[in-house]
Symmetry: C4
Subunit: 256 residues, 4 copies
């Protein structure tokens, strides 16, 4: 079993695609953006990534149908005036182990590099830890030119203030080593709920930078649905944690 | 040392076997079902699985005899009117590490696929975290047809409510990738004791779906025995934890 | 870098040696027994085992001289009336990771099997968690014959009461899979200090079973020395933990 | 992806170089010393080490520019009267996993051994856990000769008092196995802030032993800058931890 198994669903040729990472993370900002872009921009799934470094579980989806933990690659054609293409990385998980993160991100980058990606944007949330009046989008980039691009889009530049953890950081770091430039857009979010406003702010900045239009009306609706699903999942998780104080901890490692 | 070493004890040919996973987990539901089926249905052990991803320990069993941490495959012949066979996966443990779970489940599935398995059922408990009036059996499946099958058996379908962690989830997820369908039967259980009632409820639903008869009288008795054994083990574990607050934590990692 | 690097210091031939595992663990019982046997029985070190699965550190020993984390194999010749030989496994550590435990124990067993080992005894402590009036030695074994041997030595047999974690369990479990029999001798100990009495009790039972004589006078003295060294180490560890509440936790992972 | 990828930036020949490890750790003592030596002694970076065992993240540096987690090798030519060279190991991280520590240190040692290194010095802090009146430098070494050298420099020798964890310990331990001798210099530090005084004390002892001169004026200034950067990073980390008590813990694993 390889650290990342990539199944190609459709052979495509893309026009100078930009690579967008939007995996689940703080406030589900990245995932909300990915789900919304997939729906609104006629994204087509062309590859799936499966890995033993993902959490050892499945999800129960609509109508009791089981879904694997997975990352997915979509293409979106002809955005903006210059009709460039996008490759969008979405999914329901990130690798659980630190070295799994490196290995899976590296394999995905190997794969999408074949399509001639010219730049990388990674999307996510930054937890603020308290209610906010307005939703700022923060940014950082691999080089000065991209920092300027962020500033022009009125994104606040982070500076000397810690790290970007997980796929949103690693894709940019691995990109630097390959000479592929890019930037990270991070929406501020209280961090403890599904934040549609933060996702909208990030999405609008991305659309501005990449010069495409997108309707954000349904984002709220989508956030509502995600909220309900997660509420149930968290309740189950909390029950597990409660039990851990009164029973045999070993029993609680697996539902199965 | 390979991630999973499978020792074949008997070469057998089986008639379209259904694969049943019933490893230890919440409320020991899966393990109770496995142990009971092995006794009542003349199960024959035909393979053993040993792995460095299992907990690094042995168990002290009856009369001071030491047992390895192990998974075991049994076959059961000629159940129901159509006289189909079963392959039952039981044992005393699951892999400790997340990637170990993936790797060992995958190797076991490679192995049982050689016997031409046609479907997968995974059994376990769902922790409710409080005393219950009645024991419901919940279900989820890889496809609509199997969801219908569960509904016909009056099993409550989970929907959009989180994950199935460990072997009970992974065997179904790995099955999906190979085109093998299946379902998970989960007995509700308070989760903090050995739950014979939950095991009985799961077992009766399975017997109904797979169309075989089984006497469940001795399940209570078996649960009693398991309860006593675990009580002692938990006491020892608690002592270890208590010591961790007053001594050198490093010393406490190993009894040996 | 291999999971276990075994350096042979002396080529020896041994007469039907019995393999004794006495690595550090609860109450430092195993290590105390190993150190005492090495001194009193003219043990000769003939191999060293080094592994990246050991804790990533060195120890500061006498006079500021740095020592690697290491396991060591000693031989002891001509014990008892039948003049059998022993191979003794001592050292200052066990593997940190669960699969490291399996892999290193397995490699060591591969190595000592070349010397024709006929039986395995593993030594350790069982934490009781409270002061005790007398020090019992508990036992378990791979087979009935060895359980009988323990009973004849008036060792209390554990039964259905949990696990033996770490090297003391794994060597016996791995032995079962190779057809090598053996037993575990565990001295009861409060568990939160260096327990010379528990080590003495275990050592005397072993000497009785293996039919050799040993002077235990210096065990107390040795326990005193170990106690002092550990007290200092624990103080440093405690300081580290205290700091973790007021500083950057990342800084505290490494002294270096 | 290899456990350590070493990129050579410049082919150099060095004169009997001494290898200095000064990676981040307690009180940032090692890192402060490295940064200061690099600036003051005309150090030239000649190799970079990148590893999937490092934390899965990037850092946001000056002006929003993203930096990879990395270790770096510098050479410094012609120090002291005998004009010996140094190889200095600096960077912004150490391996996260225990076996990663062993593997990466071993690969780095393989690499620098090609330059004919004759000795190893490792630098770091020892956490005292409380304010101190004076900053002592403690030492330990691989052999008596180097212990004497430390004593001559009025360094206090640690003895029988625990371990040296991480790269500062492992380089010396791995050196012993290759016949390369060395010593560890550890500055006492409260441990919960960036300690320029401790770094200065360690640096002056090293300069004394290796017979070179260095101006330490700017160390305070540098410590101030590091303090500010870390304060911001710690605030973000604290926010994350706060959120972990009120939201879905899974969300908090990744900012991205």
């Amino acid at each position: 079993m390889k650290a990342a198994e990539i199944t190609v669903l459709e052979e495509v040729e893309l026009n100078n695609p930009i690579f967008i990472e939007a995996l689940p993370g703080v406030g589900h900002v990245g995932k909300l953006v990915a789900d919304h872009m997939i729906d609104e921009l006629n994204a087509v799934k062309f590859a799936e990534i499966y890995s033993p470094t993902f959490p050892p579980q499945v999800l129960v989806g609509d109508e009791g149908i089981i879904e694997n933990m997975i990352n997915e690659l979509y293409y979106i054609r002809g955005l903006g005036e210059d009709e460039h293409d996008l490759i969008l990385l979405g999914g329901n998980t990130q690798s659980l182990s630190p070295d799994g993160q490196y290995i899976v991100c590296n394999e995905i980058l190997d794969f999408v590099e074949q399509y001639g990606i010219s730049r990388i944007f990674t999307l996510g949330g930054v937890p603020i830890g308290q209610p906010m009046d307005e939703t700022r989008v923060l940014g950082a980039a691999t080089d000065e030119e991209n920092v300027e691009l962020l500033k022009e889009a009125e994104i606040d530049i982070r500076s000397n203030d810690g790290g970007i953890v997980g796929a949103s950081g690693l894709f940019l770091g691995l990109g630097i080593r390959r000479g592929i430039k890019g930037a990270c857009l991070m929406g501020e979010t209280p961090g403890y709920f599904i934040d549609a406003e933060s996702a909208e702010a990030v999405l609008l900045k991305l659309a501005h930078i990449l010069n495409f239009e997108i309707n954000t009306e349904k984002l709220d609706e989508r956030a509502e649905e995600t909220k309900e699903m997660l509420a149930r999942a968290q309740q189950m998780e909390q029950d597990l944690i409660n039990r851990a104080n009164s029973g045999n901890a070993d029993d609680l490692r697996y539902i199965g």
